[in-house]
Amino acid sequence: MSEIIVEAKDIKKTLGRGAGEVQALRGIDLSLRRGELTLLMGPSGSGKTTLLLILGCMLAPSSGTATVCGTSTSSVDTEGLAKIRRDHIGFVFQTYHLFPTLTAAQNVQLALDIRGEHGRRAAKKAREALTMVGLEQKSDTLPGELSGGEQQRVAIARAFVANPSVILADEPTAALDGENGRTIMRILADAAHDRNRAVLVVTHDPRIVPFADRILDIEDGRLVGEQRGGSEQARMPKAAAFP
């Protein structure tokens, strides 16, 4: 059994107050392991993003505990949570969130810069990360001149470049066509399998199921099912996953 990187125990989260109060999470137990790509699937409003925010140290649970690389996120101030994110987590966002005035290489290098890695070494690492996602020729291109799929690959390179233990991806293929979606998922799957990271992808896109090692279904703030991805892959080959 591989090492657990992220662990959540009995996570509950209430959003809003009074009449608008919503039980977003109702007791979630979850662990993410090295070398495993996990999908968190569920309909809108099921609590996917809330759980992602808690696992990503951006939101505190109302009760329960979350641990990232052995560090509990309970009673940690915002700077402490930022440090946990900096040290251990890489994020991939649905809408990329690249810096429009920086080149692709600078966008990737930024992830190193905030960690105190500057200069030629950081620039070299950024170029290598772009090569890994097949964008070495676009290093000096601004995000506005890249396609959606290319922008998402830059965002993935940015998430990987500092070699985090866990990658949290929020709907990374939602805005992409089939070919680009497949490319992105292959990169994420490689990140889990070849580079021994824990990867969690939050999605409601069934096309990406074949890339998963494990699928967690969430509904009304509860995990209602867990499947191993292997059997799913058998039913739906990767090549056929995206039309």
Partner: protein
């Protein structure tokens, strides 16, 4: 090199219109402060120009004399008492005062007479560009500054006019001895000065004292003061400071200049704060992304402060260039604007402080960023 500076500069230059508006604000503010302070310094220098150019260690003045131009008089016989003090090398009476200068055309204009015993060279015209100061010892001779040719109705050495009904001839011309009162200085010999100002022979405006080399100035000052109880004894530095205080603060001129400078700082700070805040607001999602990626608050503050510093440096360079032009243009005017290296250094520090202080609003806004907003669709 960190990307902080790159990010800050791209944020800044991305919206060129806002960047130009920010620079206009900073340049306006810095130039305003520079001119006000330059006027202050220029005025401060002009009001003490006679004291600065007098080779005196001590000044014996009528009690309560507020400045060089003070019309009060003292007993000229004090000269002997002062001269008898140990350590005193020489004592030279000085007579100053306003008088009337009648042009060849018959028109009359006021002038300010400065008369000392020219043999002692304690206070005589400087920057002489034509003529000979020694000729001033003859009766009816004067030295004037050539910038006042038009006002005095003369055009060259040898020109003539009348002071208090007495014929005078210009025998020396100076360059750049201008009066802040706009009344031309007219240098004459002591005896002529008495005639032109109506000062009796036993009276003088002040006594200029030179201390013997090696003598202790403070001790000599005390000894002179003890001898002349009905007059006041000041060092040149003290007299300079008193004159400056009188003209700059006694008249309110200095306060007005300072008020203008403070207004400039306030206007600049508000403009920079507003544009920086608006720029930060436009880039909030980027700052939230940085925060989500795990950036520390200090990294984000650094981006904002670098933006402020870039504003400061670029704005200051433009303002300094404008200041240099203003200095050149006003150099020969009645009130030249003086910009010293210290003023430049001080203004740079002030610009940086102003711009960084302006960043506080933007920083306060960024502190409230919720990194989770990057997941909101």
């Amino acid at each position: 090199m960190s990307l902080v500076l790159t990010l800050a500069s791209r944020n800044l230059f991305h919206d060129r219109l806002r960047f130009v508006a920010t620079l206009v604000g900073i340049v306006f503010s810095v130039v305003l402060v520079m001119i006000q302070m330059g006027l202050f310094l220029g005025f401060g220098r002009m009001v003490t120009t006679m004291i600065d150019h007098a080779s005196a260690d001590l000044w014996v003045l009528p009690k309560g004399a507020k400045c060089f131009e003070d019309p009060s008089l003292l007993d000229a016989n004090l000269r002997d008492k002062v001269a008898s003090v140990d350590g005193v090398a020489s004592v030279v009476p000085l007579v100053i005062g306003f008088s009337d200068w009648r042009l060849e055309s018959g028109e009359v204009t006021p002038v300010f007479i400065v008369g000392a015993d020219l043999r002692d060279r304690t206070l005589q015209p400087w920057n002489v560009v034509e003529g000979d100061v020694r000729a001033l010892s003859q009766a009816g001779t004067v030295a004037v500054d050539r910038s006042y040719f038009e006002r005095l109705g003369i055009s060259k050495i040898g020109s003539t006019a009348e002071i208090r009904g007495r014929r005078v001839k210009v025998v020396a011309l100076t360059d750049g001895i201008r009066s802040f009162t706009t009344t031309p200085y007219v240098f004459v010999d002591l005896k002529n000065a008495r005639n032109y100002t109506g000062t009796f022979p036993e009276r003088a405006s002040s006594l200029l004292v030179r201390v013997k080399p090696g003598a202790d100035r403070a001790s000599v000052l005390q000894a002179v003061q003890a001898k002349v109880t009905d007059a006041e004894v000041l060092t040149s530095a003290e007299f300079r400071s008193r004159s400056r205080s009188f003209w700059l603060f006694g008249t309110g001129a200095g306060a007005a200049l300072f008020a203008g400078a403070i207004l400039g700082v306030i206007v600049g700070t508000v403009i920079v704060a507003q544009t920086l805040y608006s720029s930060t607001k436009d880039h909030l999602s980027e700052f939230a992304t940085l925060r989500a990626m795990g950036s520390s608050n200090s990294y984000i503050y650094a981006v904002i402060i670098y933006q402020a510093l870039l504003n400061a440096v670029i704005g200051f360079i433009i303002a300094a260039a404008i200041g240099w032009v203003v200095v050149e243009v006003t150099a020969k005017s009645a009130l030249p604007i003086v910009i010293t290296p210290w003023l430049i250094a001080g203004l740079f520090v002030l610009t940086v402080i102003m711009c960084v202080a302006s960043a506080i609003g933007a920083i306060v806004r960024v502190v409230r960023i919720d990194p989770a907003t990057v997941f909101m669709r």
